[in-house]
């Protein structure tokens, strides 16, 4: 391993075999800090390159130093040259040491780094031991398949997962939704308040609704209630809630209809404040909960009279029949 002055034109930077540009999302780059440091001291440390069997130099570490040298119209740069015989696992370890903060900034970056190592044909057992375990992923049989699923998500969507720091499980759940749908959800990110669970719920219900009704996303967007929602001036939070509700109604028409009927029957009773009727909204359990909240003992008798009235009894019976 030697430090040499090598011609900048001979260095593969973006095309380097070890370039992470397609694999890692960066956090806010602090360019000015580096430039100031370069202005004050110049380039202190040599960059690291790997020399392949065709004598090409693949940049391993020092992208910003290389950029600075190019900006200053340098023709050569000092570089530590790793020989062709360097094991790929050593190179991956080196890159991990140098870029640990960026790689570990988000789960998607960790996944993509593993995918990057995998793309260099690093043996799977090494990845499981040297990357998965330090990254706190559970190494199991289907792990690489899961990584691939996540890596195949649309880039814009992965960036969103990076910004929101979604977990492995959250991202994996999202991989089961059609790309077209995920891209539409990302288009809504400025007008809706999207968390991982909200995304998953909306995507899941919308996917099922569209499939069942033989519709596509454009058909959905042109439905009057959806158009009206997105044309409205509601705040993102309210808009999100309304969208969730509308999609739920479309995906669960029978359930929604039954629950609406029951709610109507409960509302018609005009029960005093403090008396609550609740039921299993999935309609699975034939069961009604009647609860009483009381703060004034004088109201006790009135509440009991209401609950034991024939009207309430009849209504409860008819609700139970619905369940």
């Amino acid at each position: 391993m030697s430090v040499q002055n090598i011609n900048i034109k001979d260095i593969l930077a973006d095309d380097s075999r070890f370039s992470l540009k397609d694999y890692l999302f960066e956090f806010a780059p602090e360019q000015t800090c580096h430039i100031t440091s370069f202005d004050a001291f110049g380039i202190l440390d040599p960059i690291i390159v790997y020399k392949d069997d065709k004598d090409r130099f693949h940049l391993v570490d020092g992208r910003k130093r290389l950029q600075f040298a190019i900006l200053n119209k340098e023709r050569t740069i000092r570089a530590t040259v790793l020989p062709e015989s360097t094991p790929t696992t050593d190179l991956i370890s080196l890159i991990l040491c140098n870029k640990r903060y960026e790689i570990e900034f988000s789960t998607i970056n960790k996944i993509q780094f593993i995918y990057f190592a995998s793309s260099l044909n690093v043996p799977e057992p090494w990845i499981l031991n040297s990357l998965c375990i330090p990254f706190e992923f559970k190494p199991h049989r289907d792990f690489f398949r899961e990584c691939e699923r996540i890596n195949n998500l649309p880039k814009e969507f992965k960036l969103f997962c990076h910004d929101k720091k979604f977990s492995l499980k959250q991202m994996l759940n999202l991989t089961y939704h059609p790309k077209e749908l995920l891209l539409q959800l990302i288009k809504w990110k400025s007008v809706l308040q999207l968390t991982a669970s909200t995304l998953d719920e909306i995507a899941s219900n919308l996917k099922n609704y569209l499939k069942r009704e033989n519709k596509n996303i454009s058909d959905f967007l042109s439905e009057p209630d959806i158009q009206e929602l997105f044309d409205s001036s509601l705040a993102p939070r309210e808009k999100t809630e309304k969208l969730r509700l509308l999609i739920h109604l479309k995906q669960f028409p029978v359930l929604s209809d039954k629950n609406a009927k029951i709610q109507k029957a409960v509302d018609a009773l005009k029960l005093p404040k403090g008396v609550q009727v609740s039921w299993d909204k999935t309609l699975e359990n034939k069961n009604i909960n009647l609860s009483v909240n009381i703060s004034d003992p004088l109201k006790w008798r009135g509440m009991l009279d209401t609950i034991s009235s024939d009207e309430v009894k009849k209504a409860i019976e008819s609700i139970l029949d619905e369940l």
């Binding site: 089961y176 996917k207 099922n208 609704y209 499939k211 069942r212 995906q251 669960f252 028409p253 029978v254 359930l255 039954k258 999935t282 309609l283 699975e284 359990n285 034939k286 369940l323």
Partner: protein, 354 residues
């Protein structure tokens, strides 16, 4: 009979196969541990028929998109217990502890009872064995038409051959590689003529375009094929699966529309169609069945809520034990199956599985 599938002696170190690859081969294994147990789907909020299962086969050559095996088997290899005598020994020991009780024992929990019969001959061996038992009935449940080996046997009325039945539309879209409905019905007619009792399982009923006419036509075709008086039991159930299965189905069968229906999670951690939908499907099928079957036929819902029984049949058994007793009573009164007239209290006192 020649077969494309080869029987291979299983090696303990054989590589674990995934669900689909495992369907291509067939390994023989020896029985390990207990093979006979109760049906694994027991849950107190749902009424269970308390059938017993004999795990004689693991995995199945068919590909039903809704099959739980795709999410259940950690080793997807297709395996069959090679020495049926060891299975029979266990059955004999277990049923002898309660000689007064009628055991219904099915071999379909982890696979199809007859799909591998050409290669293994296992079902025929079991039929012969059960023919000599007083207090047990064998149930062979299938979506195949592999009945040749069973026709000449002296079954002594102790085997019920059952078919899992669905509409042509569901068979074509979601029961891949299984025998088409007309072939299942032809096979049913052959075993019927050979004197076997028949079991009918309209399970899982699937909500699809034209389901009402589809199921009505299915019932009509069944009773154009066989007479209802030798139908031992009829089960009705609807599509249900663990939530994790949803992803498996979507992944393994991207064209399937099963998972996009209006379904909710139940207390047994399985998703099902919403109750009003289930009830309307069951009521429809039941009203079609009533056109053909006698009053004393045994029709039951598989893993359904007590109140769903009420909505469909207007009543429900008092307990799981009561339902088990109704089976024994029905089989004894109609076909004299069992060691004697069953006593209700005995069945009710059998502990519920934990």
């Amino acid at each position: 009979m020649k077969s494309k599938r080869q029987l291979n002696q299983s090696s303990t170190n054989s590589k674990k196969l995934n669900f689909r690859d495992g369907k291509k081969g067939l390994q023989t294994i020896t029985k390990k541990g207990e093979a006979m147990g109760t049906c694994a789907t027991f849950n107190i909020k749902y009424l269970c028929c308390r059938v017993h299962v004999l795990r004689s086969v693991h995995n199945c050559p068919f590909e039903c998109s809704y099959c739980f095996l795709q999410n259940y088997l950690t080793d997807g290899s297709t395996k069959i217990v090679v020495d049926a005598r060891t299975l029979m020994q266990e059955v004999r020991e277990k049923i002898s502890t309660e000689p007064w009780r009628l055991f219904r024992i099915g071999t379909w929990e982890l696979g199809d009872s007859l799909a591998l019969e050409k290669e293994s001959g296992q079902a025929a061996e079991l039929v012969r064995f059960f023919s000599g038992l007083k207090n047990a009935v064998l149930e062979l449940k299938t979506k195949s038409d592999c009945v040749d080996s069973l026709l000449p046997l002296d079954h002594n009325g102790q085997t019920v051959i059952s078919w899992s039945l669905n509409t042509d539309s569901v068979v074509n879209t979601d029961e891949l590689r299984t025998a088409p409905l007309n072939k299942r019905l032809m096979a049913m007619q052959r075993v019927f003529r050979a004197g076997y009792l028949i079991g009918l399982h309209f399970d899982p009923m699937i909500f699809h375009a034209g389901w009402e006419e589809g199921y009505a036509s299915l019932v009509r075709r069944v009773f154009e094929t066989i007479s209802p008086d030798r139908v031992a039991w009829i089960s009705v159930g609807s599509l249900r699966f663990n939530p994790e299965m949803r992803k498996k189905i979507e992944n393994n069968y991207p064209g399937s529309r099963l998972t996009c229906a209006e379904m909710v999670l139940g207390d047994d951690a399985k998703v099902r169609y919403v109750k009003p939908l289930r009830v309307s499907m069951y009521r429809h099928l039941y009203s079609e069945l009533k056109k053909y079957v006698p009053e004393d036929s045994l029709i039951y819902l598989c893993m359904e809520r007590w109140d769903v029984w009420d909505k469909v049949f207007g009543h429900h058994p008092d307990t799981v034990g009561h339902l088990d007793y109704l089976f024994a009573k029905s089989l004894y009164e109609r076909y004299r199956i069992g060691a004697g007239a069953p006593i209700r209290d005995n069945y009710v006192e059998i502990p519920i599985p934990k």
